[in-house]
Amino acid sequence: MKVTRKAPRWPVPAVLDGDDEALITAIQGGLPLVPEPYAELGRRIGLSEDEVIARLRRLQETGVIKRLGVVVRHHELGYRANAMTVWDIPDDQVDTLGACMGRFEFVTLCYRRPRRLPDWPYNLFTMIHGRDRDEVQANIALLVRECGLEHIAHEVLFSRRRFKQRGALYHAPEPAHGGT
């Protein structure tokens, strides 16, 4: 279990040169679906294939690129329901219980966030997926049982409607859904 602590809150941006920027811009719309995609990218921005490969590897190693692969639509894979489930956990137990919940396959996000008292007492946010609302509820019940959350106040916020979702663009950055 990897726990990423944010102190200072804002990580230092990576050092990128002009060619890195050009490469990031060139692939943000997607990798070319041709047999030699890195050579093709290089042709577009005036770099050799070797140079593209070396730069991509470095961007992966430094964590600028978290993953180079496909982004799926949950809905199209049959995961039609999701609920943001929020928990009010004593401060000294958040790390332990967050780590416990994060281990479950149906938990796609598990973040600590600040309480906003008195209106908002919850400090741990999990996104729980399921094929329908019943499955989501069953998954939450399983979490409660397995992580010993019987005495922890929680609320389940099903999504009703998505109003806006824009594409991910480097110059107007967007996280994976909820990944903020």
Binding site: I24, L77, C110, A168, P173
Partner: protein
């Protein structure tokens, strides 16, 4: 829901991990899956066309690129919901916005170029809607699962 056969599922599951960074990455993945390169490419194109996949490419750590994010909640009176949604969504910094069943019924993500912009945009949203905004930035990450099993 899209019809996925066993090979489609294997592709979706395999490519939620990294594509190799080498000269013929698709050929390498195709070999792992026991199909040929051309079939992998044509199936990938179809999965994108059918919108099973939103994108095939990099997932950036935008904070490493200098961007900033926050999750923001609002409690919007029912009779003002549409109007407030319109005002909030008009901000280009609002990346996505969900209605949820709760007193806090509007939840949106802000994505800005700098951390300072988060506070500025929140203040502008509060002013233009006349409603309080509750900024809830991430403090620790226990898990971010980047993979969702197809045909489990």
């Amino acid at each position: 829901m899209a019809e996925l056969d066993a090979i489609d599922c294997a592709i979706v599951n395999r490519l939620q991990d990294d594509l190799p960074v080498c000269e013929r990455p698709y050929a390498e993945v195709a070999a792992e899956l026991g199909i040929d390169e051309a079939e992998l490419l044509s199936r990938l194109q179809r999965l994108l066309d059918e919108r099973v996949l939103t994108r095939f490419g990099p997932l950036y750590d935008a904070e490493r690129l200098g961007g900033a994010f926050s999750l923001v909640a609002m409690s919007v009176p029912e009779d003002r919901f549409e109007e407030v949604a319109e005002r909030v969504n008009a901000f280009p910094e609002v990346a996505h916005n969900y209605r949820r069943d709760h007193d806090f019924n509007m939840w949106f993500v802000l994505a800005t170029e700098t951390p300072e912009d988060i506070a500025r945009v929140n203040a502008e949203i509060a002013t233009c809607t006349g409603l309080p905004v509750y900024d809830m930035p991430k403090e620790a990450e226990y898990h971010l699962r980047l993979k969702l099993e197809a045909c489990p």
